[in-house]
Structures are given as C-alpha cells and as structure tokens.
C-alpha cells in the first residue's frame, strides 16, 4: 500500500484502483461534476464519460500517429535508418498478416489493422507502469485543484475499461455490417443470415427453417463484437488486477512477484493486441467473402 495511508483497507485500495475518473451529471444534485465515489459514478448512468480512459487512449493514439506520421514524412527509399527500420518492420508484419488472412481488395483493412495493433499495444503497455505512479500524479494534480485525494480516481490502462474495448469492437462490427451489405448486397447479407446453417432444397422447408437459422446466425453475429471486446478487456483487467494485488504486499517483497509478472505480461500485451488485430482482419475477410 504505497499510498501510505493507514485508514484505507485493502478492499478500498483495490476498489479505488478499479474506478474510472467519471464525469457526468450527479442525479441527486443535478450538477455536472466528477463522481466522488463508485456509487456516484454508477448513478450517473449512460450519460457520463471516463476522462482517464479517453484521455490516456487519446494521448497514446496521438503519439502513435505523430510518430508514424513524422517517419512517413521523412521516409526514404534509400538505406533506411533508426526509427524507419522499426516502423518498416511493423508495416511489413501487418502487411504479411493482412495478405495472409484477407482475400478481398480494400485499402482500408491494412491501415485499420495497423491502427488497431499499435494503439492496443500502447494502451496495454500502460499496464507495465507501476500501478500507483500515474494515479499518484493524478491525485496530486487533483489535490492541487482542491479535490479530496480519496475521491480522485485514475485508471491508467484504457483496455481495462470495457468502454474502450467495446468502442473498438463496435467500430469493427459496424464496418463489418457496412462491407457485408456493400459487397453482398442487402439480399445477399440477409440470405447469409437466414439460409444457414440449416439448408433444404424444398422451398417450404426452407421457409420453415428461416426463423431457426436467423436466430442462430444473429447470435453468432452479435457474439463477434462481444467476444472480440471482452477477450481483450478480460485479459488486461485480470493482468491489472494481479498487479494491484501484488502492490498490496510490503514494498520490499513486491519485486519478487511484480517483476516476473511484468515480464510475462509483456507477452500478453503483444499477444492480445495481435489477437485483436487478427480478428479484425478475419472479420473484414468474412464481410468481403461471397462464398455463402
């Protein structure tokens, strides 16, 4: 408990770390303000935003864009050097993955995969920053502005907020629907949803099977963004949780657990970003695939 405050319990500490910095309308007072407690944040309902999630993910996304944009500007076809090598290897990696799994022709897919991969890697990497550092900084800033230190929440890792992962997955889902309808036509897409997996040559049996098919296909369609986002969220949330638990230990023993876990977590950070990106490519491929 590096906050050094004896009055808070372990449970409080964990809860505090898992609470986002929420801005919304307080239903009791009707005032737009930052939530002072988990309950208050919950009561704000849907019309509220997590400033920490959006802020951190915006900064990281902007960092990614800035870095790549600057390198792209200075790109040379001659001998590459320094950061250009690094960025080219990433681009190569993305291109190989897209070429391997995506059979359609769409100039959006590769940049989309690049954005998803790098952004998620950066967001996940925030997990490696010791759990108390940035919240502590945020707390000091909050206190400077006159807030109660116990009511300044700050969740550093955007991907441990389901809003962030659902935001991404829903974006992909919308693209998937858009391209499905664009490529296969509305009829083709409807047929895909209603004429599988049970098929029949007989027209009456076919009509009879439509509800069952539609039910199954909609479930599998809806399950895609849900599993897509929850997979990333779950992994990162669990990892963050373990870091928080490790942080509850006395400070002189923490490193024995946090170091191995951090090293192992590097793998998870990259792996989850890679899985998310691969699924983006696969879903895009499904949307472009006219097979059925």
């Amino acid at each position: 408990m590096s906050t050094g405050n004896e009055t808070i319990t372990s449970s409080d500490y964990i809860k505090h770390h898992l609470q986002n910095l929420t801005y919304g309308q307080n239903p009791n007072t009707g005032v737009w303000e930052l939530a002072h407690s988990t309950q208050e944040a919950k009561d704000m309902g849907f019309m509220a935003i997590h400033l920490d999630t959006l802020g951190v993910s915006f900064i990281l996304g902007a960092l990614f864009l800035f870095l790549f944009y600057r390198t792209g500007k200075k790109m040379t076809a001659d001998t590459p050097s320094g950061i250009q090598n690094f960025i080219e290897s990433i681009i190569d990696f993305i291109e190989n993955n897209v070429r391997g799994s995506f059979n359609g022709k769409n100039p959006l897919v590769a940049p989309l995969s690049l954005t998803v991969f790098i952004w998620i890697v950066l967001m996940n990497t925030m997990d490696l920053v010791p759990v108390d550092w940035l919240p502590y900084v945020a707390q000091q800033v909050g206190v400077f502005f006159g807030a109660d230190p116990h009511h300044v929440f700050f969740k550093v890792v955007p991907t441990t907020d389901p809003n962030a992962t659902f935001g991404l997955a829903i974006g992909i889902f919308l693209l998937m629907l858009y391209y499905s309808i664009k490529i296969k036509g509305f009829g083709g897409f409807s047929a895909e949803l209603t004429l599988h997996p049970f098929e029949s040559k007989n027209i009456f049996v076919k009509l009879l099977l439509i509800p069952a098919n539609f039910f199954l296909e909609s479930v599998s369609l809806i399950a895609k963004p849900v599993s897509h986002s929850l997979r990333l969220f779950g992994n990162m949330y669990a990892g963050e949780m373990i870091f928080i638990l490790i942080a509850l230990l006395p400070f002189w023993i923490q490193w024995t657990l946090s170091l191995p876990w951090a090293i192992f977590h590097i793998l998870i950070i990259l792996l989850q970003a890679f899985i998310f990106m691969t699924l983006v490519i696969v879903y895009m491929d499904m949307a472009h695939n006219k097979e059925h």
């Binding site: 704000m44 999630t53 590459p80 998803v116 829903i170």
Partner: protein, 156 residues
C-alpha cells in the same frame, strides 16, 4: 466499470485515428517501401546483366586476342617467305646479268680479234703486194698476172 458515453467517444476516436492512418501514414510509408523494393530488384537485375555482359566481353576479348595472335604469326611467316623469295630472285637476276655481261664481253673480244686479224691480214697482204709489186715491177706485167695476184691475195 459502467458502460457509458466513453464507448461512443472511444468509437469516434478510433474512427478518426483510422482515417488519419489510412490517409496520411500508410500510403507514404508503403510507397517508399515499394520504391525501395523496385530499386533493389532493378539493381539485382542490372548486376546480373552486368556480370554476364562482362563475361561475354571477356570471352570476346580473348577470342580477338587469339585471332590477332594467329594473324600476326601468319604475317611474320609470310614476310619471312617473301624475304627469302626476294633474296633468291635477286641472286638469280644477278647471275643472269653476270652471264649476259660475260657472253657479251666474249663476243666483243671475238669480234675485236676477228677485226684485228682481218686488218692485219689486209695489211700483210698489202705489204706482200707492195713487196711483190715492187719486185715484179721490173719483171712482171701487172696486168698479165692480175689473176694470179688476185688468187694469192684471196688465199691470204
């Protein structure tokens, strides 16, 4: 862990980032990489071509060298032969000339000899005639013995 507007915000941010990446980041990087790929490909092809051309040229040069060596040997042989021929010819010519000169000289000598002999003969016969004439002037009628004298001078 409440679901709220953050989700929509994240979605909008995602769309913006992706758009920016597709518009301003992906194309220049990929273009440069493609350009380099083409450049390297061309370079490799050029190197391959240069290598084969070099080999060909070397072969040709060797051929030409051998040819000129042969030619030079031939020329030298010809020149040698010609020189021998020329010497031979000159020798023959000189011999012929020498022979001719020798025969001419001999003929001339013979002629001179003949002429000298004739002159001498005439002089002798004249002398004899004179002697005979003077001897006979007294005793012989020249006119009467003309035929004998003529015969005599002819035999001389």
């Amino acid at each position: 862990m409440n679901i709220n507007l953050t989700m929509i915000g994240q979605l909008i941010m995602f769309a913006m980032f992706t758009w920016f990446c597709m518009k301003f980041i992906w194309p220049p990087i990929v273009a440069a990489m493609q350009a380099r790929k083409k450049h390297i490909e061309n370079g490799l092809i050029a190197a391959e071509r240069g290598f084969s051309e070099h080999q060909e040229a070397q072969q040709k040069a060797e051929e030409i060298l051998n040819q000129s060596k042969d030619q030079a040997a031939e020329i030298i042989a010809n020149a040698g032969r010609q020189a021998t021929n020329m010497v031979e010819d000159a020798k023959n010519l000189a011999t012929q000339e020498a022979d001719k000169i020798k025969t001419n000289a001999q003929a001339e000598i013979e002629q001179e000899t003949a002429r000298a002999r004739n002159t001498l003969k005439e002089q002798v016969s004249d002398l004899v005639m004179q002697g005979v004439g003077s001897v006979l002037a007294r005793e012989v009628d020249v006119k009467a013995h003309q035929d004998i004298l003529g015969k005599l001078s002819q035999t001389l």
